[in-house]
Symmetry: C2
Subunit: 648 residues, 2 copies
């Protein structure tokens, strides 16, 4: 087992510790403060069933019943425990930034409760404890048991890193030890793996803080066992004691949906349920890096390449089929029926971040940035109190009708979901933003995202301070005060940037490119660096291998995708056109959600007849068009939205 | 009750009897002969489970088991009996045209078997007889019991009209008498109605041949009871003896899906499951006409207008959402996710035909023609051996992937369906084509469709013969030899026709328009009439209230919609454009399925980069485009197809 680690030849970059980064960013502060002041407290109320007019979560209550503190039974989704775990994870990140006695007390009380609910042998899952105690591990395909365990583990690691407290870590180690006994290659062990991936990457994080190699070995086992013949998901259904949760014992499981149609090392196309897929791929990258497994890393990179080259929405969304929330096929990127789940883009960011850390290539952070600034932030309202699960490229509220193929599209964010995966996932991501901002390796300090704030970090055994001042993503000018020290600074040059300039203490500088980063060699001594990433509105076109967007264009400026909203442009957005030669003007407008806009002289197609079909093509009349950032849409009540607009 | 009929003030037109019409049409003969020579025999084999490599139907076997002739149980869909009924209906029409001793013997044997399977009290439904004998009428919402009864009744009427034999008519009268006892307004009767409509129009047909008013009254009861408060479908689920077929007792039924959200007279938007909807509306028209109920007729016309003005595909398809095979909302006409079930267009033709007969307005027959020549014929392969259930506007085989939102789209016709509603429905429609061709009322003989053949019909007590010679729908020239007699001839002027000319015995004639028909006053004496409906390829545009087709055009010529196929135009049809000024050329090409084509100089958008997104719009290169008739697509193996093409 120790060979696993000795073989680590990837020199993976490490993110800064959360405590080392102080973010005070004009763009993100709204969201990170909302997470602290609104989302985390709101979600605590949700977990405790104290939100009016909202479906109760039952999450905390389930733990109380499992702990024997209350009479009752389990309520909610089979993975309801994971909501509490994701909340604890977010709290862990939040406390790493800023102490909050009251919040920490709430979290500690929940952790104590979880400890009370845990069984003697370490088992922890209130659904099975309360509803199906004899059916543990009897339906890995459908029942999210290992998925929930993974979220407990991630919460424990974050809470330990944020507070130094080990109570939850002890709980999850006992649980992970049980899982390591139950699952494995031995004859008396279960040769299965999760139907919903997540525990793989969680176990690597647990290994990182505990240094216990058995957790890494277990993660590797789950990844390598997946998709082998005979297929475990098919085999478990044949067992007499199979737990037939969905009453579908006789249905063959959709193996591709679960990324289990073949061994992961043989995969070359991202497939199946999008969230599951990217969680798995992130875990593959983690295990590959930790064990020096080039073949596994190659597979992860192949899957990543497939996503960004053939299956990615311009907003960083993934998961094209609203039926089963899944990937479909290359170049199939429908605009009004896509799923693009907020959680899937969070998972994509997790995955890309890992590949960036392992390979030291900046372009992976382009994907992180795209997902983060567009789909992920679209997932949360600007008041932090409502959430999108599904993030389409166009919405026509008129046809978002229940019991039709567009039922999953919502023209407005929802206060809290019965299936509440996205809101707590958003909270944990936004609380851990600093992990995405920069990385350190030996003498190199890498800036991956341009977020305003200060950094105090150890680089090659020196305490280095860095101050970043910027109005990114609306302004491409980034001022960096590089504190004294002998280190190198690597600044990501985003793929969207066509032109840039750089000065060091006022003098123009041509910095060499290294893996997509501008490399500034140290030493520094309170050096002022000015990076100007020239930002102008750009028309973006999709490869015409994709049917839906042929003849259409989308507008971007910097990493932000823009969209048309009905509030600014009137109804029937599909009638609008952006002529090929129309100039694009960017300016600030504080009255708009997002505060900025792109305007252009456009056209609207109008018709003279009421007939559904006619031989008249209609006529085009002038209309000025206003585009706002995609992430800011649907903050002014229900209305139409559209990213891709017909050109010409 | 008799007041119902006395109040008949609509003077509904009557179609010619099948036996009076001899079709020998260049266009339809392929299909009508196929129905005789291939489809009906093939379907007989299917009903008898004698097709290799095809899921067994079990339909005949179910009757044998119910009759006690064989051991076993019920197999197949809950509405499996209706396949046998639709086959018998098609045979009835077929025998009306042409005797076939062998076929009649098979049908008689099946009818005898059905009689043996019928219960003492008249009940007939092998699913309930074999699987749930105590649950008859205990789940009207989900279980198709009255729907299947309706198809038995339609079969009996057609078989009686085709052969004069009453055995099946007697069977269904006994069953209908039982239903009339069980359902009705009295306290000891069930106040329900079918979850899948069909029996309403069937009962009116039964009334027409039997003159038994109780059948008309029962049809009217089902129509007027529908959607009243308290809602029957909600109430039946509350009953202790509810038959919980789908294990969804606790789910509220989707009332709109079943056209039961409000009384039908209050409806103004076609909604819910498309086949059910148009069968209901056809029944409403029938009952309205038979009882002189203007309010009910107005409701039917309002629903029809909603369909053709806001919910109709250019091919005469209806049912926009593949999820639940249903109508969605006005102007929502997606091209790659629509259902446009073959059966729904057959139902639309039935509905429009009735409104045409009642109102004497030609435009209703435009809809019949559109549905018939495009979606309905698309439902059957040119060899008659495979069938489309779903008829989309564009198909990209690459993304028709199982377990995604496009799983219902098939790039190739299927040999026979597990749910085999469309093939027998097609057979019965094509066997009864003559009913759609012409109608008679008093001294008026109306030609609604231009099908080559001869007619011998009674008009105002005169035996009139008519001969129609034409190569319609590919040629707009129609030669009519009007046999001697004092009658008027009304020739439908199709809505697609921009220009026409008419001669009578060689002399140019300006005929007045009457309800959309060119009216030629009699008497005639072997008069030669030449009608020339000028036919040229036309670009058709959709009202820009509909999002999907903005900036696109579709080609039609006469009633035929044309489409691009990959076989003629290469892959990635979405990259093709038809410039606004490109000339359209029509010509014959016997090598093509359908035998005709429209060609035009077009363009293809190509890209220089492999990137999914770029700032380059790509470039347009010239490519000649070939369009073939929509109904003829997918007769050369799996390939892409597209109706709407980007213009400019």
């Amino acid at each position: 087992m120790t060979s696993l680690i000795r073989n680590n030849r990837f020199n993976r970059l490490r993110p800064a510790k959360l405590a080392d980064v102080r973010i005070r960013d004009n763009f993100f502060d709204r969201y990170t403060k909302l997470v602290q002041s609104a989302v985390i407290p709101y979600q605590w109320d949700a977990l405790n069933d104290q939100l009016p007019d909202t479906e109760p979560s039952h999450s905390i209550q389930n733990f109380r019943v499992a702990a024997g503190l209350e009479e009752g039974t389990f309520h909610g989704f089979i993975f309801q425990d994971s909501d509490a775990a994701k909340w604890l994870e977010a709290v862990g990140y939040s406390l790493a930034h800023e102490a909050n006695v009251e919040l920490e007390a709430k979290a500690d009380s929940l952790i104590e409760l979880i400890g009370q609910a845990q069984e003697e042998d370490g088992y922890l899952n209130t659904y099975f404890q309360l509803k199906a105690p004899d059916s543990k591990w009897k339906n890995l395909c459908d029942c999210h048991e290992l998925y929930v365990a993974g979220h407990f583990i991630e919460a424990a690691v974050a809470y330990y890193q944020g507070t130094g407290k080990t109570a939850l870590l002890d709980i999850v180690c006992r649980f992970a030890d049980l899982i390591a006994q139950v699952f494995g290659p031995d004859e008396d062990q279960i040769h299965g793996y999760p139907g919903h991936e997540e525990i793989e990457l969680a176990l690597v994080r647990l290994w990182e803080v505990t240094k216990e190699d058995r957790y890494l070995a277990l993660a590797k086992y789950f990844i390598d066992q997946r998709g082998r013949e005979p297929n475990y998901f098919e085999a478990e259904r044949e067992q007499d004691d199979f737990f037939d949760f969905y009453h579908n014992k006789n249905h063959k499981p959709i193996l591709e949906y679960h990324q289990a149609e073949k061994p992961v090392r043989e995969m070359d196309t991202a497939g199946g349920h999008a969230v599951r897929a990217v969680y798995l791929y992130a875990g593959m990258a983690d295990v590959a890096a930790a064990t020096g497994d080039q073949q596994l890393l190659d597979a992860a990179i192949r899957l990543y390449d497939n996503i960004v080259e053939k299956q990615l929405y311009i907003t960083g969304g993934i998961g094209k089929s609203n039926h089963l929330e899944r990937f479909s096929v290359d170049y199939d990127l429908p605009n009004d029926a896509n799923y693009s789940e907020t959680c899937a883009s969070i998972g994509l960011a997790l995955f890309a971040l890992r590949l960036g850390q392992i390979t030291k290539q900046a372009h992976y952070h382009d994907t992180v940035e795209l997902a983060l600034y567009n789909t992920v932030l679209s997932g949360i309202a600007m008041d932090g109190k409502s959430f999108f699960y599904v993030n389409p490229m166009e919405v026509w509220p008129h046809n978002c009708k229940e019991h039709t193929m567009r039922a999953s599209l919502k023209p407005q964010r929802q206060p809290w979901f019965g299936c509440a995966c996205c809101p707590p996932n958003l909270a944990r991501l936004l609380s851990s933003l600093a992990l995405y901002a920069c990385s350190v390796k030996e003498k190199d300090l890498l800036l991956n995202l341009y977020i305003q704030g200060e950094l105090q970090v150890q680089v090659a055994n020196q305490a280095v301070s860095l101050e970043v001042t910027t109005d990114y993503p609306h302004d491409g000018r980034i001022r960096i005060r590089a504190g004294a020290g002998d280190y190198n600074l690597l600044l990501r040059l985003p793929a969207w940037c066509r032109d840039h300039s750089l000065t060091r203490d006022g003098k123009p500088l041509e910095a060499p490119l290294q893996g997509g980063y501008l490399r500034l060699a140290g030493p520094f001594a309170d050096t002022e660096i000015l990076l100007n990433l020239h930002m102008a509105p750009q028309r973006v076109y999709m490869n015409p291998m994709a049917p839906e967007e042929c003849g259409k264009t989308a507008l971007m400026r910097g990493p932000l995708v823009y969209c048309l909203e009905e509030k600014d442009n009137g109804p029937h957005l599909h009638q609008l056109r952006l002529p090929k030669d129309a100039p694009l003007t960017f300016d600030r407008d504080p009255a708009l959600p997002g505060g900025y806009r792109i305007t252009a002289p456009g056209l609207r197609l109008v018709h003279e007849t009421e007939d559904l079909y006619s031989t008249s093509p209609g006529r085009l009349i002038p209309q000025d068009l206003t585009f706002i950032p995609y992430h800011a849409w649907a903050n002014r009540g229900e209305n139409e939205m559209r990213v891709w607009v017909q050109e010409g």
